[in-house]
Symmetry: none
DNA sequence: AATGAATGAGTTTTCATTCAT
DNA sequence: AATGAATGAAAACTCATTCAT
């Protein structure tokens, strides 16, 4: 009864199909949430039959779980890179830009995450309360250190991080609204956002002179 | 076939039950989206039997529609108040605070909206492309006017508005994450956020001296 | 718990309402059958609320039963009048005309009966196998008597009666089809049918000369 | 979402099951009408589970529609064969016999049709007002032609056709009543009816001599 | 008499999952 | 690997009937 997805040795085809399914599932779960998504939708998106899809994954739940498992890791990557040794403002604006690029390049992941949180994070609470909180605490300490050293203006590091998350992920999660409101200017939305946000956080953090 | 909810003259009970149902539905739809929500969940949340709930509303769809209809109006209220005649920085930071208060006092409405947008706004696209965009355009023009007059620093008004939406709504939509990350400091999250965001946007907008 | 309909002494209003309900129910049952009919439909047709309707009749079943009880009696009236002492051809053609008038004046009763029979007569089998069959046997004997006496052409009396039922009730049961097929001539359909059927059965029954 | 029944290429099983379902549905719809029929009844009659039945047809409605679609065509076949070039009385009595055979061999189709008409033909009005009326008009003209040429007695062709429909379909639609009334003679009912009806219409149509 | 409110028992689907091939 | 077929469980309603007023 060993299912392909759980076998240690996957053939190339198995790997390809699994990824095809995960990609399709990401698309649908991101929009409709777990309960709002049907296997039929995923199968249609992947161009597979429903039983065939279930040949690769044991259940709808298994697909979702796999997606979430992969998610947090990549999701936190940009924050991990924030380097205590670098220039504080540079580090933070670089982080903003990396997050914005993720919103641009992986909007579905962003929406999947948003969907989970909206539901009260029933399936990723452990990761939120564990690795994510730990990482934030660590980086918040670095930021506090910079502020204490006068290298950036005093700032609440947690709310700073929240505002970076919020402003960047907004371009993924609320993309449809952003696009409609911007109208013709929508094509440049990520460039404009990059400039705007760089300015926003630079002004916030630049230590007051004198 | 006139259902209670659609009748012009509602009895006291009808009004109470309708509101009870809408409130329960808001709770559930906000978390699970339209498809992910079951009438059973709403009925349980409202403490009613399923058929009794359907005595007041024709269908699951009708409840959802009613909620969305009521939503946008209250949702845009804070932005409507932005006054061209007031002090620019005050106007904008006041707007931020009002939005933040809404995130605190009406988090379910915020999440319902977020959920709709995540799904591609299938049911509120008209309102996004119509009234919402019109209002944003109008207020963006005001902000541009202020910048042109040198009363605030030059800024992209659209991305400014996006960032206000994003940062304030974050405290409703991602509340669970915010609370977990903040740990003990979670009680003061709205006060801290108010201070942080006021500072953030004040620094952004304050016209450079000289 | 004495219901109005079952009480011995009915007020005038009770009688009126009961008849109103029966008439409305006849309309609906005739078209959709017992299971296909909802109390809501009957109540709407009668202009009453559903609970009010059920104040007068204990149940949907009770209304239907009442209708069927009244039905057979009036339904067989024309056949009862067939008089062994009269002129044979006159008696039969008169019967045809009376049946045709009933199809014209009481089409709903005809359709209700048809509906019951189509379903296999679950509720009126007793009456079919009892009073109806008895009456038909009796009248068939009369017709056979006439034929034996050479007063009408030899004919199978049962199939004669079936054909009279069929041809006359057709103008009630299949009225919509008759009307559409006849187009403009539909207004005169009962007059034309009377002439046609009189001719049909007269030719059938007129004893061959010589 | 392509259902088996709508696919161009059907497997053997699909064809068999579809026909099984249609046959079961015909049985039940014919007796109880659309609303009065439950999918459970059809499934039980077909010996399938309800979801399995719905695997082959999208909905109760789809089954019904399919049945009606197939119905009119075969239903009108006998009338189509009425040949202007043949002997008038032969043509018409042959038509009567063919219709009677259909009543004997396809009683469920007859009852389904009757049920639809009783309800006011909501789903087949188009076919009644279109193809059926056209065909009747065409054949009525032929009959009128025969009468004008003195080859049959003068007769209203529309009411002639109605009476043929009525008398023959009666043996399907009112079969239970016919059987009960005839008692022991019921086995020969179709033979007796054939003789009776042939005589009936022959006498009607035979041109008067001299 | 009349009606708004409520509900248990259906009825029509939908859907995740299993089975057979 | 892949798919047609099948199903139990659930979900969205529907409806006859009851209850309280």
């Amino acid at each position: 009864m060993a299912r392909a997805a759980s076998a240690k040795t996957q053939t190339r085809i198995q790997k390809e199909k699994s990824e095809l399914i995960l990609s399709a599932a990401l698309e649908v779960f991101a929009a409709y949430g777990f309960r709002g998504t049907t296997i039929d939708q995923i199968a249609a998106e992947a161009g597979l039959s429903k039983p065939n899809l279930l040949y690769y994954f044991d259940s709808k739940d298994a697909i979702h779980e796999q997606l979430l498992e992969d998610l947090l890791d990549t999701w936190l990557d940009p924050l991990r890179s924030l380097d205590a040794e670098g220039d504080p403002v540079d580090e933070i604006t670089s982080y903003v830009i990396r997050k914005l690029e993720m919103a641009r390049d992986f909007p579905r992941e962003s929406r999947l995450f948003a969907n989970e949180i909206l539901q009260g994070a029933p399936r990723i609470m452990d990761q939120i309360a564990g690795p994510l909180k730990d990482l934030v605490d660590e980086k918040a300490a670095i930021i506090t250190g910079w502020a204490d050293a006068g290298r950036i203006a005093p700032v609440d590091p947690y709310h700073l991080i929240f505002s970076i998350w919020a402003t960047t992920q907004h371009y993924a999660d609320f993309d449809i609204q952003v696009a409609v409101v911007l109208g013709e200017r929508a094509d440049q939305r990520f460039d404009d956002a990059a400039a705007y946000l760089t300015n926003l956080f630079t002004k916030l953090l630049r230590p007051s002179e004198g």
